[in-house]
Amino acid sequence: MKKRYIIIINIVIVGLILFIIVKYANDRASESNHASIASFEKMTTTTEQIIANYLEDEQHLCDIWSNYVNESADAGTPMTVEEAISYIRKAKISPEISGHLIYIDDGSMKGISTSPNTTNPSDYSVNYSHISIFDNLEISDINGVVSLTRAYTNPLNGIQSIAVLNNVKVLDDETGAMRAGLLLRVVPVSMLEQKLVFLKGEYENVEISLIDWDGDYMIRGKSLKNSNFFEYFKSYNPMSVQEYNKVIDTIRTGVGSMHMRNSRNEDSVIAYTPVSNLNSWFLVAYIPAKELTVNRSIDWILLGIVTMGLMGLLHFNMIILLGFNRKLSVAAAAANQANEAKSLFLSTMSHDIRTPMNAIIGMNEMILRDSHDEEILMYSENIRAAGNTLLGIINDILDFSKIEAGKMEIIDVDYNFVSLLNDLVNMVQRKADEKGLVFKLEVDREIPRILHGDEIRIKQVIINILSNAVKYTKEGSVIFSISGKKCEDEPDHIMLHVSVKDTGIGIKKEELDKLFVAFERIEEKRNRNIEGTGLGMAIAQSFLNMMGSKIHVDSEYGKGSEFSFDLKQKVVKWEPLGDFETAYKNFLRERKKYSVQFLAPKARVLVVDDTEVNLKVFVSLLNKTKMQIDTADSGDAAIALFRRNRYDVIFLDHMMPDKDGIETIKEMKACTDTPNQKTPVICLTANAVSGMREMYINAGFDDYLTKPIDTGRLESMLLTYLPADLVEKAGENGEEKKEPAVVHNILVVNEDVEFLRGVREWMPAHINAAVAKSGEQALAYLKKHEPELVLMDSSIQGQAEFDKDKLLQLCFKELSTEEIISQVDKYFDEGGERREHE
């Protein structure tokens, strides 16, 4: 993972932790705030109780006064106003409280007071006519409830006061009539406020207000501006009329709290409750929200410490991680170095073993060709078998290293299943024969002939299984069976079932697990004489895994084993395989010693290799072709010949001292003063590691041939690259035919490109086929070339434009390749006859 991702993840984690801390703190603070507000509401109701009790007491005292006055009246000894006030003056204890008795029956609202006017100590008269405090009170019939005025100015001393009331009946001493009076117990608001002093201990900034139904204050908190609480609320908390009315209703109808903005636009909390026993009076407790919600603020110091701690931890971890990374980088570099060393070793090993092997196998091939001594031939055959085994081991190691490095790729191509079977049987039959084993072949006749898949790897898998079967079977038989079944879900695919059954030593159940483990060999002691690296099955299993399959093993120890697998392959051509066994038996019957494929006495070939023996091998192997072969032991020597002589094909080694093959070909390509500008150059190399073919083609080579040289491949390659007019047919047993070998040039025309791609593969060597995918392309070709025959699919239109004598139309889809070849041969045979007749 990149460093920045680690940092980002760490920062995200740190951020997450901080977020959780903040959220947790906020949640706790929120809970605490709820508790604080609940507590504040409780305090409000407690305060309301105190005020209610106090006012009730005041009303009670007022009632005592009025009852006394009224009882006198009821008893027939009514008191005059002066007498009543005189009584009250004696009865009241507190000097701050005064009693006012005013007449209400005549609407004058005038009377006398227990206390004198502050500016005139002899004046006890009182006048309420200009003080509108009775508007909302039923003063004519106060019946046992607390009757409280709003806060008003005591007309005698100018002190803000409240008054509780009751009706009294007094005697008018002037007229002798009974008068309806109103007795007011007048209490300074400051006395009521003193009852609330206790709150300061609990809440420093709490302000208690008492408001009436309209929001006018009896007591007003310092912070609440305006003469009316509701007006104040509206002024500083803009809202719609509906919302405003809702707020008023809420305050008037229940107990609770709400947030509001004060005149400084600060968040505040008000708790409200109606005052018991009082109609339309409400207690409103105000407090700045920050006093209640002081805990809500996040503890930034704690958060800072945690952040610093986490950041420190992050940095510490980063330093440790960077240390580890450095070590890992060193280790990775060392591993890469080791891997490169391993690759180099493998490459070198492959090259260095293959180089002498080329000489061994090549020279041995010459012995096999030239010797007639049965004993020598037998020895020589053993050398060949051992050489091939050794090559197999090297190939296995190379393949395994590719698989391990993840460089192995499955390359799907169209392939001829018959050819694949031929190769397999060819290779195994000989080994089986040598061990005296019966090699039995059971091939499903219905298997399509042309399939699409990685032919080479499939071949390798089956060879590995077959080789093992032969290796571990002392006597008895090896049965190789292949069947095919059309895939139902994918109509253009076939599922091949491959099975190899032997009567060999079998595998113990407990050893089965080792079977596919690289370098593990089953019953090592018992089988130590059997050659092998222990890689074969591991490689086979890996290849099959890459192709979506796996090997199934069914074995009985001491009796034999069956290795099988199913492999899905795409079908290119559904033409059935036919009777392969018969065909193969014929093939076996006809299998003979080496015979040269062609003669080319006029052809001139240059071969370049720094190892002299390899040059000898090359020349010897091609001896019977009669070609003119020049050799060069270095790049410079080759370039000198390249400039001087004209060659038809050049074989150039890669790894040479001084100037290697790639440098040499670059110099050759740069040459202008040479007759070989169009001469194909083929890389002849012992370097067989993966990716080499592409590397050589990219470097400018036309083709690639590995050492040790396979004579068949070498000759096939020469047939491909040599000009047809230089090639002659070889006679029986390599003898030169009296007649020169005739290679027929034909043009194959078919719209099926896949068909065209395979043409050269299955056409016999004496037929050199060019291809065209349409009639037009064919005509264009004919303008420049003169093939002896145009072999055309019957579906192609416009045959009229072709020379009828040289045109052979066949329905390719309905014919097998053998039948097509047969038809072509027939054409040329008849043509020969024709020419003879002519």
Binding site: T119, T153, P188
Partner: protein, 434 residues
Amino acid sequence: MNRRIKTIISTALAATMVFGVAGCGGIQGTSKEFSPKYSSDTEYKLSVVGTYSNFESLESAIERFYEHYPNGEIEYNYLDDYSNTIVNALAGQEAPDIYVVQPWMYGNEKLDPLFSAAENLADSKLNINLDCIRQGVRWEMNNGEVLTLPVFATSYGMLVNMDIFEKEGLKVPKTYGELKETCEKLKAAGYESPIMGSNTSTTPGIGYTFAYPMFAKTVKDDRSIEADLNNLVPSAGEAMRAPLTRLKELVDSGCIDIDKCTAEIEDDYNAVIMRFFEGDVPMMLCSGDVVSGTKKRESKSEAFSANPFKYDFYIAPSGDEGGYYMDSMSILFSVNKNSTNLDMTNEFIRFLTSEKELGLMAQEKRLITPTKDYSLDEVYASLSGFPADRTVNFRDTEILDTAVKEFRAAAYAVINGEMSVDEAVAGYGSISGK
């Protein structure tokens, strides 16, 4: 001129300039910012009593004072039946530290304690910057004492719908001639009554608002008639002729439709404002006190909320040379010299006595500032630099209430066709009693 004399003269000139620049800074020097005299943690509790049931502009000023002295409390209380209770309050147990005084209270024997209990704000020890108060509203007693601090001033004039004038491409008239011309144009543009007002015999009424400043100017110019006017001598009624004639002329010219005013404006305060906010009245005669009610009523008027417009206060151009600016005190504060917390009370008054604080209070209340700087409230910006020769303040005349009532009644009778100008002039002394 020798060199020494030149030096003396130039030094004297420089000194004059420095003092001149000091201007309103007065005792405070050049600094206009309030600088607390006492420790900011001083604890105090002050009470202010007044006639306003709601005194938000004072409470805003108190809030600003708290910024300097946060550990105290200043409480404002409305006193019921103020004129009867304030004296007792001052003598009582919970006497206020600051109380409201109005000009009419002076000379009323019953209310004398208000003035006798008042602190002399001009006392140099108090360091109160009275120089920022306009001379016309600065109430200095004969002995040089200043017992009251004017908080708001008021006047008489008209609210002008500036959007209408802009729309019609007109300028606000400055003289009576221009007024008539403007009214004709407005009538031509479809405004039935270019001027409106409350048809009452009160001070904010049409007749008084338009003609009284002219009457006061007449008295200012000839103080010899003042005594007869105050004694309701019929011959003194001649002083009313010019203003009443101009008033009658205004009505007769069709500048104002009295019947329309009567029908559409029910009272002299709320209805005046709400009718003006309808948006189709170019000029509305009113007092400064009426203007003070506009701010709160803007949101209460659906018409104004839907189609707000710019409006300003102008002196009504009743004279040929221009209108007459009655620069009157509205309310004043006095400090109770017997206050239990006199130092902090004076400190609060010192804080308040600045162009900034008095200006802010006046702006919030939308009354005229008593200071020299009219710039804080653009509604009254037209009053800035008003010619002194057409300005009348309380010191220029001593017209008693009785005479004022006679003029109000005469003006009402003339505009309603109850009396001719001659009858009104002849009937002086007995009009209000009818």
